[in-house]
Symmetry: C2
Subunit: 293 residues, 2 copies
């Protein structure tokens, strides 16, 4: 069994990006600049944004964190998005989700200029990804594909079962896994809460990508000997032994499943670090205007 | 075994649309207007466009057919698209594919104003469909979903195997079948040319949607007793007994497969008529500005 070390791969990629940024800087080019809008003080969001700001530093990017309180109106937030759309120094930006209930996340996402949409959530980027055109691929699916690539895991013609059909993981990673590309080119099955044959499907899978957000959902009896397991789950579970009072728990019962696998990602330290590094890569692409002019 | 009569359903829907158009007319509203650009004289394209023009008449729409010769340049065609984008009387338009090799189909598709893209091929419509937002759904996938709806075929939690991963059928119909909607909500597997376990997958399927373009590919040994079969294939096969010299052949070996099915679409007369009627419905929605303002 090989443990897929997402943290090591992410560190490697950040170093590659930092070298490219250093070369850009030396040539007098523009340093990529990522902005993040954070509304309110949700603990998870604070942590994610802090990680993103830190990753920007490691990559040599400029970063700007814009904070708003929970009582910001939708119109005010739309105006902020518009300001960033029009700021020529900002190459890409994100609006950290979730947003307060009185604000439509979809309306905010669609207001972002797709050429600065480094989260890859705008319909144009989603559509271009599905069609197979150059675009900003959303961070978690892109990170999963990069792990498969760096570990040279054969996916062609293999049966990949995706658990979950969310817009940010399940559906896009299923699309990427079925495209005629490497990695990709897999037979892909998407299972979800309404699936009747989910366990049988998992037992047939050469690759399982678990993105349900249900701690320890995938158990040993659901996994074929030699399968590749990508665990996207990161549920906060109360844990008195941790200083924070919680631990991150994956969708896979790691202790019992890992002995059966050929490859498996741990939680934390698997897909999570790759998600942030994919955002960094999109920011680099935005800064270089490599996808859109 | 129930034969799914796509022609009858399509006629019924065209009548429903015609009634709605008559009511719009009576109320002094704007009659929906579809334009089609046809480049060259490809036999298949001529037939499809003629069917679309005829369907417009049956629905009470205005239609405009714009012909260009094969030597039209990409820039000239882009200018024509721009003219239609800006013509306030045209509610929706299509550019009949395929185009001559010197013209980038993707560039033309992306030049169409997505609010008039009744074929649903523009990245914005593809992306919105994937996310689950209101949009123009491309005609063949929409037609398949409508057949399932009108025949009240239960799809929730069922295993649907889609054969083919094209941008116009395989990928979008897979997305629609997995969405949390009715019909939909199915466990969906997408198989394609690189799949190693295609036959086994088909044998497990409650629903098979065959869109490979390979005549008689799906044989009786690949089909479970009681399965629902949707045949999207329409390959022209030489046939001396036909006046035209060819017949349309589906992806399913109908004679041997149909006795095993609960429902099956014939070719012709199954999905084909539904494709055109879905275009009509998108045109009606465009005319009413029901999706985009």
């Amino acid at each position: 069994m090989t443990l897929i070390d997402g943290k090591a791969v992410a560190d490697q990629i950040k170093q590659e990006i930092a070298e490219e940024v250093a070369a850009i800087r030396a040539a007098g080019g523009k340093i990529p600049h990522l902005a993040a809008i954070l509304v309110g003080h949700d603990g998870g969001s604070e942590t994610y944004v802090a990680h993103k700001v830190k990753a920007c530093e490691q990559c040599g990017f400029k970063s700007t964190l814009i904070r708003h309180e929970n009582d910001i109106t939708e119109d005010e937030l739309l105006a902020e998005v518009e300001r960033l759309n029009n700021d020529p120094d900002i190459d890409g930006f994100i609006v950290q989700l979730p947003l307060p209930k009185h604000i439509s996340e979809q309306r905010i996402i669609e207001a972002i200029d797709y050429r600065k949409d480094v989260d890859g959530f705008h319909p144009i980027n989603v559509g271009r990804m599905s069609i197979g055109l150059p675009c900003f691929v959303s961070a978690t699916p892109a990170g999963i594909m990069e792990l498969l690539r760096r570990y040279d895991i054969d996916t062609k013609g293999k049966h990949c079962v995706v658990l979950g059909r969310s817009n940010i993981v399940g559906k896009p990673v299923a699309t990427l896994m079925m495209q005629k590309s490497e990695p990709g080119n897999a037979t892909v099955t998407v299972c979800h809460s309404a699936s009747k044959n989910l366990k049988e499907m998992c037992r047939q899978a050469d690759i399982i990508i678990a993105a349900l957000g249900q701690p320890d959902f995938v158990t040993a009896d659901m996994v074929k000997e030699g399968a590749v397991i990508i665990d996207v789950g990161t549920t906060r579970v109360p844990d008195a032994s941790k200083k924070s009072g919680f631990r991150l728990n994956g969708d896979v019962a790691f202790a019992e499943v890992s002995p059966k696998c050929s490859y498996i990602t741990p939680v934390p330290g698997g897909v999570g670090p790759m998600t942030i590094v994919s955002l960094m890569r999109n920011t680099l692409l935005a800064g270089k205007k490599a996808i859109y002019k």
